[in-house]
């Protein structure tokens, strides 16, 4: 087999990895709420820095 076929299979595996990652993220619900995760990430700091009275 020509080396080009091996390269092809390699590239397909990598591309397939990205496809699986995409499908996974859809299944996981990452596209359902685009607002909360982005803001939630910022909150953690403010809570920790807030001195408890």
């Amino acid at each position: 087999m020509s080396v080009i076929i091996i390269m092809l299979i390699g590239s397909l595996i990598i591309a397939g990895g990205f496809l699986v990652a995409f499908l996974w993220s859809v299944k996981d619900g990452q596209y359902e709420d685009e607002y909360s995760p982005a803001h939630r990430m910022l909150f953690d700091d403010t809570i920790n820095n807030k001195p408890i009275k």
């Binding site: 020509s2 080009i4 076929i5 092809l8 590239s11 397909l12 591309a15 397939g16 990205f18 496809l19 995409f22 499908l23 859809v26 299944k27 596209y31 359902e32 709420d33 685009e34 607002y35 909360s36 803001h39 939630r40 910022l42 909150f43 403010t46 809570i47 807030k50 408890i52 009275k53």
Partner: protein, 803 residues
């Protein structure tokens, strides 16, 4: 706490103007006790980050919530219908919180466990305005969780509607999967086709070329059997109903491309067109996703059930038992409290009823009811608690009967879209060309060339460009409109709007603003003392007209009144410093009935002299006059109102003599009026309304637009929701929707041009794989860019793109 907020004198919690500044805590001022209470709860629980994240993030709490409002949530039967899951120890539940609007809300709701220790987890879905909660049954109850949410200003919306539908709304993810797979296959097929595009025959080893082609075939399988299935399904459904939709020729073209490509590859006669095929499937799916993007937090399908409370107190043996609404029997006695909706038709048995029917009938002023009178479902009690004897069950009441009408039963499918029509002609034309060409070659005795020609023509003339241009245009129009706070239910609505030639407005709540009244006085000039006297007397009455006049006179001093007497719904009389005052309706003051009764005028009589009258007029929405100036030139305009005809002259002067203006219209009348316009006059009607009383008309009309004061408000079933603040832009929205059709046509003409070029090569037999491979994505992308650019340009020209 910034000093700036103090200077502006706005409520620290909700940002409402509060000029009085009477209610305050330390240096923070509040507009009402409700807001202050929420602040106290939050500061007690160390949750003041809420106010740091955004300034004045709260929602106004002016309407006080009755203490045992949620008593019905102790009922196991009701709870069971609301919760998602429980194992006895922990319960899972999702609430819809329409008040959610900023990151502070998100933060507070996810820290709710600090207020109520029983809450184990809380997770917000901001797009849907939902919060998912898990609570510990040992530490708290369902009712307490709801009360906690209410106490911090987020009263969950619990309605019958949600009870009867499955509350776990699943978003359809299959199309996203399809796009992912199609994109993946498309890109890989393109990559593996490169030798085909660039290298001349014989330069690549034959066996490598062979292997690549088999790979291509393998990658095209998921495209055709997974990604493209919806085109085949929709086409088949259409054909079953004897309707040729746009998907039919597309499905045909995809199938033929696939078949011919397989034949070429396996017979070693060519490379096929699988690259173009998967590309076009990918682009079309992307277009459909953009077009069908839904607003998850907005519901367009509400019926009366969403507006009614879920349960009311039924009096049994002098005890109030919370009972689910659909279990109320006629003969039951129910309790209804201030600011609550009356869910069934009933007779008033105890209490002072002041019913606001504006939502149901469109009357702008509350109606006073005496014990023994019938009160219809949907009215809102405005003064104190009532006891009511139920006459009819929920499903049979006057209001809900509207939903038993045929309009609400038929689910119409929009199959008249010009896209489908155009697609149909296009299909017949293409089939015609193919047939002629086939006949020609058959007559010349070249059957092989005949098949070749048929397939080539069908492949090249696929109307996918039409589908692309319409989906991308519609998607972008929906996006621009939603940025301007007009939310449409479905892309087809855009086209329906562009066909409108008659506008029908509801008056109360649509053209006028409920809370905003204007008082004018005509008659003898009143001096300060007289004004104070009138205000003092009217202050004794709770009638809304009295309140409006008192607000108008705006006096701080009150004098004492002797022997005052109020005749409910008529007027009030009394002695002030040897003078006998009689204030009220025409009939009450003059003693004779008026020829033209007008309920919105208050007459003032002192001793035997009528001094003058106060006219109370609803204010029209901002920009109403200018909007009507524009609209009346382009459309026929009607106004149908459930209210009295006090405003007739004013409306005629604005809308012109020829405008039809109808008053005293019941919900049924409105529906029938729209039906009459459509049937007898062949009009395409756009109905603009707000309340449940317009629900029938909104449904019957070609386009039903509901107006809401804020997006938290609930609107009846409709095709589109328009934010009240954007009301004056209505003409622009219509104009913009109209431009959509032009954009689609322009890009379609362009795509036909591409097709002609393609056909030219195809007929000559010189359509090289390279040109085909370049032409396909270029034409698709250029159409996408053109539709996007043109719709942006048109929005900019009309003045909708605020940047």
């Amino acid at each position: 706490m910034s000093t700036e907020t103090l200077e502006k004198k706005v409520c620290y919690h909700c940002g409402e103007n509060c000029t009085s500044g009477k209610i305050h805590l330390q240096e923070k001022i509040f507009c009402c006790d409700g807001c202050k209470l929420v602040y106290e709860i939050l500061s007690e629980n160390n949750l003041c980050t809420y106010y740091d994240l955004n300034t004045n993030p709260g929602v106004v709490q002016k309407i006080k919530i009755r203490e045992d409002k949620f008593a019905f949530l102790d009922d196991e039967n009701i709870i069971r219908q609301l919760i998602q899951f429980t194992d006895g120890n922990q319960t899972h539940i999702t609430f819809y919180l329409p008040q959610m609007h900023c990151s502070s809300c998100l933060w507070l709701l996810e820290n709710i466990h600090r207020v109520n220790q029983g809450v184990v987890t809380s997770k917000v879905n901001f797009t849907k305005k939902e919060v998912f909660l898990v609570f510990d049954n040992a530490k708290t109850t369902f009712r307490k969780v709801v009360e906690t949410l209410t106490a911090i200003g987020y009263e969950p919306h619990i309605s019958l509607h949600e009870l009867n539908t499955n509350h776990v709304k699943k978003t359809d993810k299959t199309r996203l999967y399809k796009v992912g797979v199609a994109g993946f296959c498309f890109a890989n097929i393109m990559m593996m086709s490169f030798p085909e595009y660039l290298v001349a025959d014989g330069e690549v080893e034959a066996n490598i070329r062979q292997v690549l082609q088999y790979f291509i075939v393998a990658f095209s399988l998921p495209v055709i059997f997974f990604c493209a299935t919806e085109f085949f399904i929709i086409a088949w459904k259409g054909l079953k109903h004897k309707f040729l939709n746009i998907d039919a020729p597309i499905a045909l073209a995809i199938a033929i491309t696939f078949g011919r490509s397989l034949y070429e590859i396996f017979s070693h006669t060519g490379a096929g067109y699988l690259d173009s095929m998967s590309g076009i499937v990918f682009f079309m799916l992307v277009g459909r996703i953009l077009q069908d993007k839904t607003y998850q937090s907005i519901s367009f399908d509400r019926d009366y059930k969403s507006f009614f409370p879920i349960a009311v107190n039924v009096l049994k043996d002098n005890k109030a038992v919370p009972t689910q609404i659909d279990q109320i029997k006629s003969g039951d006695i129910i309790q209804v409290y201030n600011n609550e909706l009356i869910p069934v038709d009933c007779i008033l048995s105890k209490g002072k009823a002041e019913i606001d029917y504006s939502f149901v009938s469109g009357e702008s002023l509350p109606v006073i009811k005496e014990p023994g009178e019938i009160i219809y479902a949907g009215g809102k009690q405005m003064a104190g608690a009532l006891e009511l004897l139920v006459v009819k069950e929920v499903s049979q009441s006057y209001l809900t009967n509207l939903w038993n009408k045929d309009v609400f039963k038929t689910k119409e499918e929009n199959s008249n879209s010009f896209i489908h029509g155009l697609g149909k002609y296009f299909t017949f034309l293409v089939l015609g060309i193919a047939a002629v060409a086939a006949a020609y070659w058959y007559a010349h005795g070249e059957p092989k060339l005949m098949w070749n020609t048929i397939t080539t023509v069908l492949i090249v003339a696929c109307p996918c460009a039409l589908l692309l241009s319409s989906t991308f245009t519609n998607g972008n129009i929906l996006r621009i409109l939603s940025k301007n706070k007009m939310y449409l239910r479905h892309p087809d609505v855009i086209e329906n709007i562009s066909n409108i030639n008659q506008l029908v407005f509801d008056k109360t709540g649509t053209l006028t603003q409920q809370s905003n009244v204007k008082v004018t006085y005509t008659g003898k000039t009143l001096d300060e003392a007289e004004q104070i006297n009138i205000a003092s007397l009217l202050a004794q009455s709770s009638h809304p007209l009295s309140k409006a006049v008192v607000d108008f006179l705006n006096k701080n001093t009150i004098v004492s009144i002797e022997n005052f007497k109020e005749t409910a719904g008529k007027g009030i009389e009394g002695w002030i410093e040897d003078k006998y005052f009689k204030i009220g309706s025409y009939e009450f003051v003059y003693g004779t009935s008026n020829k033209k009764p007008n309920n919105s005028v208050v007459f003032v009589k002192v001793d035997n002299e009528v001094l003058g009258d106060f006219k109370i007029v609803n204010n029209y929405r901002f920009g109403f006059n200018q909007l009507m100036e524009v609209l009346k030139c382009k459309f026929t305009i009607s106004v149908i109102s459930g209210d009295n005809n006090a405003e007739q002259q004013k409306l005629h002067s604005i809308l012109g003599k020829e405008a039809e203006i109808l008053f005293h219209q019941k919900p049924d009348d409105k529906l029938n009026y729209i039906h009459h316009l459509q049937e007898a006059k062949h009009k395409n009607v756009m109905m603009i309304g707000d309340g449940l009383n317009d629900a029938g008309a909104l449904k019957q009309s070609n386009v039903g637009i509901a107006i809401t004061e804020n997006s938290n408000n609930f609107s009846p079933a409709c095709d589109g929701i328009l934010d009240a603040a954007q009301f004056s832009n209505l003409d622009r929205f219509i104009q913009f929707a109209k431009s959509g059709k032009r954009i689609i046509m322009t890009s379609f003409v362009l795509s036909v041009l591409y097709n002609v070029i393609g056909l030219y090569f195809a007929v000559q037999g010189t359509l090289s794989p390279l040109i085909a491979a370049i032409l396909m994505p270029c034409s698709s992308i250029s159409i996408i860019l053109i539709t996007y650019g043109m719709s942006e340009l048109s929005a900019w020209k009309i003045g909708l793109n605020k940047t």
